[in-house]
Subunit: 246 residues, 2 copies
Amino acid sequence: MIDLSKIATKPPKGTDKGDVKALTEQYCKRIGELNEIMRAQRKHSLLIIFQGMDGSGKDGAAKNVFKDCTPFNLSVYAFKKPTEIEFAHDFLWRVHQQAPAKGDIRIFNRSQYEDILIQRVHGWIDEERVKKRVAAINAFEELAQFDNNTTVLKFCLHISKEEQEKQLQERIDEPEKRWKHNDGDWKEREFWDDYMRCYSDAINWSTIPWTIVPVDDRWYRDYVIAKKVCEAMEAMDLAYPQLPKK
Amino acid sequence: MIDLSKIATKPPKGTDKGDVKALTEQYCKRIGELNEIMRAQRKHSLLIIFQGMDGSGKDGAAKNVFKDCTPFNLSVYAFKKPTEIEFAHDFLWRVHQQAPAKGDIRIFNRSQYEDILIQRVHGWIDEERVKKRVAAINAFEELAQFDNNTTVLKFCLHISKEEQEKQLQERIDEPEKRWKHNDGDWKEREFWDDYMRCYSDAINWSTIPWTIVPVDDRWYRDYVIAKKVCEAMEAMDLAYPQLPKK
């Protein structure tokens, strides 16, 4: 059983930043190549889920790791507060619509997990409903896997409370980051321990495994994610379609 | 365990057509009234699924039973052969999008069950995938129930092979029914026994129960469905919203 509060948010000791950055660069290039084959073959799909506290670097991870991919078949969907019409449906209704088509990579910036994180931390739903939602999430992810050749990769971007403060403060201090500032983020920070507990449960209750990414150093974040994504894509049987034999 | 091939397609002996039609009329009126409260309250939703062989009267059931409802919050969605974009997703992708919003009644003319009926009868998917799809369907219906106050009512419109022939022949003989004629329906008819077996399995593997409707006599079909729908709506805690207390 995973307890996030006991897991490192920094790279293992002795990790060489230069080496890691060179490797990351290679992974990114290869992801770009494989993405192009996915697009041509239209057989496999890839769903990337980024979850993490505010300031954990979800945007940056999407930007850096997939920098060599084209937008033809790669897209990001950021889940915000549900709209009125979304609230009038089950919590997976809006999520399912955004599932990737065959041939596509879809990145979720936040996801269905918010519905058992923020909603649970604040007690907006009871524990019975949490359990049922967990089962529904597992069923949804398995469905994508078995019925649409979707590889589901889930990343928990794990930041320390100190590093988060630094990140949130930068959003106040630096003009080009100010658009990301939100008083609410500082408020949510007060529920830190509850979030760690609920994140840990979400990870432990998943049938499809998570990757926990230490993100205090952004270069290490990119490395862990790029490696995982690249390996998962190499494991697909990707091939350019050829002319039919005469 | 249900074996459809052993279940009657005609009303029980001694059923009085006049009495039944009068009762049906009362149920329909009441459904109309309750539908209006659902619309005002926007708390409950109702998903009606009609499955049945060609000519079993799915259209007619929708038309007759809900005749006193307004289209403000009642709609029918007919699932046809999947489009290219639908085929590029898991089988529930297009279905989930059509789930009713709170306050609405949504009628599915055919449904997710086609994906374990026609596809199974013709061997387009293997039995392992059938089992997984059954689990996914159960999870999907339970999700609608627990997370969106959706009452899910599933009707298997059960017709005899003889009556079906009569219905399909009418589509050739009667000018105003001719638009419904399809050579493919006569072809599917050859797989009758396989369909009965697959329908029986679909019913037996469901967690949310089905109502099997004998449809050889259309007045009895309407009665069984109207009664079930009306009782299900009466069981919701429907009430017009009132002005807030001062």
